[in-house]
Amino acid sequence: MAKKTHVETTLNGDAREFLVEPRQSLLETLRDVLQLTGTKEGCNDGNCGACSVLMDGVLVNSCCVLGVEAQGRTVETIEGMGTTDNLHPLQQAFIEETGMQCGICTPGFLIASKALLQKTPNPTEDEVRLWLAGNLCRCTGYDKLVRAVLKASKAMEAA
């Protein structure tokens, strides 16, 4: 078994330390080492976006980043996005617009959408479609998802 490395990171705003094998992806680190299972795996090779997280505010596929790369960085996952009592406007819009069916892709879409709205607070439909093209959803046909992101952007602008 490979030797473990000590990593210090800021995870969803809190300082965290953990031990991780250099070969373990950030996705595996989050899910199996830290038991934060909100981030999902769909492909483990960078093609579905289910595992999206923010690293130093930048959208990444956590299956394509190593856990050791979190050293000294900030990581934001779905667990840090909103709580049951205080949902992020995107989370609220996904529920209201039925922007999900099975929900396995949902955390990844929410994180990716959050990154989009940080960069482009008022995206057009085309901009949303282009940005989310790295996230696959097999259930919804994307229609309600795209509507949810557009709705959240309006809500956030109004707030």
Binding site: M1, A2, Q24, R31, D32, Q35, T37, G38, T39, K40, E41, G42, C43, N44, D45, G46, N47, C48, T77, I78, E79, M81, G82, T83, T84, L87, Q91, F94, I95, E96, T98, M100, Q101, C102, G103, I104, C105, T106, P107, L110, E125, V128, R129, L130, L132, A133, G134, N135, L136, C137, R138, C139, T140, G141, Y142, D143, K144, L145, V146, R147
Partner: protein, 772 residues
Amino acid sequence: MNMEPEYKPRKWRVLGTTPARRDGIDKVTGQAKFGDDVHLPDMLHGKVVRSPHPHARIKSIDISKAMAVPGVKAVITGADFPPLNQAVVAAGEGGSVSMQDIADNCIAKHTVFYDGHAVAAVAAENPHVAEEAAALVEVEYEILPFVQDVREAVKDGAVVLHEDFVPGAFLFPTQKALPNAGRLQLAVGDVEQGFKDADIVVEREYTTATVHQGYIESHITTCRWDSEDHLTVWTTTQGAFAIRDFLASILNMQLSNIRVIPMEIGGGFGGKDVVYLDPLAALLAKKTGRPVKMAMSRAEVLKATGPSSGIYAKVKIGCKKDGTLMAADLYLLFEAGAYPGGPIAPGALCALTRYQIPNVVIDGYDVMVNKPKIKPYRAPGATQSNFIVETVIDELAEKCGMDPIDFRLKNATVAGDVLIVGMPVPPIGTVEMLQAVKKHPHYTAPLGGPNRGRGVSYAFWFGAGLTSSCELHINADGTVNLATGSADLSGTRMTLAMQAAEALGVPLGDISSSVSDTDSIGYTFQSVGSRTTFATGYAIIKAAEIILDRMKQRVAMIWETDVANVDCTAEVAGIADFVDRNDPHRRMHFKEVAARMDETGGPISADFTANPHGVGFQIAANICDVEVDPETGKVQILRFTAFQDVGKAVHPDYVAGQMQGGVVQGLGWALNEEYWYNKEGRLANASLLDYRMPTSLDLPMIDTVILETPNPGHPFGIRGAGEVPIVPPPAAVANAIKNAVGVRMNRLPMSPGAVLEALWAKEGKPASVKVA
């Protein structure tokens, strides 16, 4: 089909509204527990060793090197499994499945039949160690010739997969015919005479690619074998009972010793109602005495779980000059994959059933090839056969100089018509739907540019009834716990709660709706066949009737009157108030009866197991606008409108979501998705990058039109909704391409290369670039 008139028209209080889903919060916050979120103490991780060959005999397996890896706890092969205790199990609707085939598909015993076929499995302290060890399992193969094209597989002298096989029985049994195929023939009238009487005959050949359901969550299971010899399985499945039954047979156990706990499921579409990993993880757990979790990689999902059939087909259809269809002759070769049981029966049955054609012959074959064993995929078989028929229908309409919708209207079956299988068409809005398409503003909107075209398509699907169980428990505060055995793939806990609220006459917010494990609820068939909202809902309505009867008895007890004097207003007013027939001022509310349960004899609950037969069929139609780039062959979807008759839309937003999701899957079949096998018979595009499913960027918004012709076979008029939306899109796209650039596509996917080839052929240019 038993068409007992169950439908009772009434004013809906809950049905037709769009409440926010309650599992939504769990899903948007990442708290929902899917299969991979199970972590048990002291858990091991398993990995499968898979064949790199499409066809080979296993000569020997040496596990010694793998066992020597530190952290490896067990390695199993096919030889570790006991003999089956049941050779064939029922699969509903008169179908059956060969357990031997399912068991052999989980782990090959003597011969591997496709690239990715499992041959051994390893359990180790972590998944990386398991993977390393799996690579050290040494399998010696005798490589055999293989066949992957259905046309080759039915030829004389073809490579034979199974010297002896039990013909497949998906829906209808097939008869063993050729060495590699079961056969299903359907015929009515005199086809030869029919073609003689026809003025216009179109004959075409088609191929479609093998395609995968493409659910985003892969197959994952965790098994624990306890000291009392009970097996507990946490798994991601469309049907916990099916998993239990398959495991009992493969592991030779009694049913009561297996408990299957269904987790949230990340998509299925027909592909997750059978065992792949579960028997392996269970046996590894037994061997090691520790829980074992196994998950497939994406490549494993594509290589070794069941995709849907590619086909080869010949179609000949003839009509009179006025558009009256006279005769149809279909020759269908459907891939079964490595074992019999492809969707030839529904594929054949749905090919023509929406049209009145007096003379028909369908000659269908379920053909074994060296690809993974085919699984149902959303209206299994119908998308393929709809593509081949709807493009020929379009061509006939064109040749008659008729509007394509008028042509379809002229020939549409209506209620009472007898289908080719002798089944009468129950009331459904065939004519209304086609008229709705014609009237829709999309149908006449200007296309606005060159190389643009509009196409239509019309589709039919049966749906399924089958067994569903539910339990309703009334709490002292008047709230209700609803438990069912139906896996929730898309929000059915809500659509079932809505039916319970409607039937009981209580607020939706008072119903808690959950999916039970196999120890806690009666037998329930898988969430497949568009059956959950229909059939489980049916069971719930029946259980609610029992609950209201029992409550009437309690009220009679309190009022010291005869139960015959107590009425319930649930059906009339939608609110469950109990009224004295002789004294309308004497009333008692549902909550009050609940509060007084204790003093009147204790808790009230009811269970019901239903097997409703009046599935009522599903129909759908599409209007699709495309733009074709003549330089590259790329097809862009510009506008799309989907029509569907759902009987009664329980939650119209969910219905629209089903329609949009199904349409987009159909567009994936139409334009991109296909399995690519290389010369060695290995899957060359086993990733989500190369198996190209539609992304948000490939699509416009998908407009939906919901029609509601009540299904007489359901008390609330509901028909299944989940499957038919995938059926019409490929043909709609093909017909739109024809109208855009004048070529009739005869293969799926209509990828840029395929469209370019067709354009070159039309222009008489030789294909300068070879496009497969």
